[in-house]
Amino acid sequence: MNLPTPFLKVGSIIAVAAALGTFSSYRFVHAGQWLPPMPDSVGQWTGVEAPLPQNTLAILGNPMAAGRDYTNPFGEIVRASLVSAGPFENYHDPTVCVTGGGFSLSAKKTFHIDGPGSGECRAMVFRHGDYRIIMYYWQQNRDGSTSPEARMGNYRDILARLQTGYGAVVQGHQTVLVRIYASIAEDDTDGVQAQRNIDDIARAIYHSLKKNGTGKE
């Protein structure tokens, strides 16, 4: 049989690329299949389940998600949400989404969640008139590694996206997006109290996810 070698050669190269593309798509779906539970209570804080609104989930591409409101004996509330991060449409960054709701970003800082050697998170303060909220945001992989960078911009965040893509497709990472936020009371001028509250919950969730993932605690 006389095989059309050039056609087969080109066709097979394209077929391999297409198969790799399909494989990467499958790996991204796999990356979004991990949604660990959040701690029911953290010290004096008591958690109550607070599912994310359906329209928010629709904007995020309907990923697996969980939400919990933590309340301390003084009635202060810290809200936390976990969103499993599969395809990039799940990666909505607070700097884009929160500001779209009429808020403006007034402060931003990246630091370690629980001292040196622990994972990094991004703290942001948003303001809408006199109303302020403080939010911690990070992506945590199942192996415990974290990343605070945004992945939403198609060209601006290209390196961070490549890092996530490589992690999901080649290394098989499974990831969740963590958002912890609280409103800053009017009398809490510097937001010290709100930051202290949110720190407690962030540390607890970070370690809980780490333990649930690989148990390296």
Binding site: S12, A17, E89
Partner: protein, 427 residues
């Protein structure tokens, strides 16, 4: 005379069709011949097409994997096209437009390909076809795979574009690739601009629409105030959301105008004018629509809902029909001016047309502003007039020719007679 004897064809003796056919018989036989020819043509054309497709069956080895490679990028890109008010809604038209541009060049491509093959057959050294050059193809694959890692639609588009270019280069060589450079460059429009730019443009379009529609309402004596994205009329307010920003409609129309220029091979000046004109008409149309929406929001909410829900593609088709009509009228007008210019130059050169032709052409130029139909009907009248002039001229000429030939014949006859009488007298 010899001509008369030659004019009547001699019938073959003993042949089966010696009886002369009546005009009716002739027409029916001609019709039958034509229809049989037509059916033969269709059948042979279909056979040729099938033979051609069967000969190209090897392409399935490339087309099927390519379609497979396109599948996921198309799925991701659909988000950019399918949402209401998506500014990149024009992108599905881009591959179709590029394919039509390539199809338009098919004869040129065939010629280049035949020349290339002939050169390959005769030349001692092999031509540089790029058959061993898979660089473009590999680059396309790598960009496509990078796109799969970072999930950015632009890299999918760029990868597929490089892949197409690589396939052309690999199978047909650089000459064909160069010929197809315009359709391939058009495909670059599939590459998305940065999201931030797009968001900023949509915001600007929303604000501009709000301001312009309020201003239009003001012109018609309706008091409306524009605040951010809201047009407020009394107690009612219309929010100019992304689907009402008009950016999608504007981009579709500008793309169509751009493609029309490429397809009809217009000059750059005409092309630029046509794009600006299309954009202007589209913006005017859109602003009027939003102004009517804001006005009917108060008086007739049902009509406002109907108006707001009109499909983008319905608007595109409506505007395209209007603009095509204008384009045709403009084209005819330009032709008329060109003819007029030619006529003037001829007049200057002393080579003037006859008074009758001038007279027949004049109304066309005078009627040029009255629309394409009017011009077309005038054109028909003019062409009929010109035909008549030529028929008259022809008949006069032929009459003169006949007269002349008769005179010549009579002269020859006289000469012959004289010659024969002289010959006899000589004997």
């Amino acid at each position: 005379m010899t001509t008369s004897s030659q004019a009547i064809p001699s019938t073959p003796s003993g042949g089966p069709d010696t009886s002369p056919a009546t005009p009716q018989d002739q027409s029916t036989s001609q019709k039958a011949d034509k229809s049989s020819l037509r059916s033969q043509d269709f059948a042979s054309q279909a056979r040729q097409a099938l033979t051609f497709l069967w000969a190209q069956r090897n392409w399935l080895f490339v087309i099927i994997p390519f379609a497979f490679a396109c599948w996921l990028p198309m799925q991701y890109s659909y988000r950019n096209w399918g949402e209401a008010g998506a500014p990149l809604a024009f992108q599905p038209l881009v591959p179709i437009g590029a394919a039509l541009l390539a199809w338009r060049q098919r004869e040129r491509l065939q010629t280049i390909w035949r020349r290339q093959q002939a050169a390959e057959a005769t030349a001692s050294t092999k031509r540089k076809t790029g058959k061993d050059n898979m660089l473009l193809l590999i680059a396309g694959i790598l960009v496509l795979l990078f796109g799969h890692l970072v999930h950015v639609d632009s890299f999918f588009a760029l990868g597929l574009l490089l892949l197409v270019a690589g396939i052309i280069l690999y199978f047909y060589g650089s000459a064909i690739l160069k010929t197809l450079v315009v359709p391939l460059l058009l495909l670059v429009l599939m590459v998305n601009p940065p999201d931030s730019v797009l968001t900023h443009t949509v915001d600007s379009a929303e604000h501009a629409t709000t301001l312009a529609a309020s201003a239009v309402l003001g012109v018609f004596g309706v008091h409306a105030t524009a605040t951010e994205r809201f047009i407020t009329l009394g107690d009612h307010a219309l929010e100019v959301t992304t689907p009402l920003s008009g950016l999608n409609l504007l981009l579709v129309m500008v793309f169509l105008a751009f493609w029309y220029n490429l397809f009809t091979r217009r000059s750059i000046l005409f092309g630029a004018f046509w794009i600006v004109f299309t954009a202007g008409v589209t913006i005017l149309f859109h602003v009027l629509r939003i102004a009517i929406l804001a006005r009917t929001n108060v008086s007739s909410p049902e009509f406002e809902q109907f108006l707001a829900g009109i499909n983008l593609w319905f608007l595109v088709v409506t505007l395209s029909v209007i603009l095509l009509y204008v384009a045709q009228a403009f084209q005819l007008l330009m032709l008329r001016f060109a003819v007029l210019e030619q006529q003037r130059s001829r007049q200057k050169a002393g080579n003037t047309l006859t008074g009758k032709v001038d007279k027949a052409l004049d109304p066309v130029f005078r009627a040029s502003g009255k629309g394409v139909e009017h011009i077309a009907s005038r054109q028909r009248v003019v062409s009929k007039g010109i035909d008549r002039i030529f028929v008259k001229l022809g008949s006069r000429l032929s009459a003169q020719q006949r007269k002349l030939s008769k005179n010549i014949d009579s002269l020859f006859v006289k000469k012959k007679r004289r010659g024969s009488s002289g010959h006899r007298s000589g004997r």
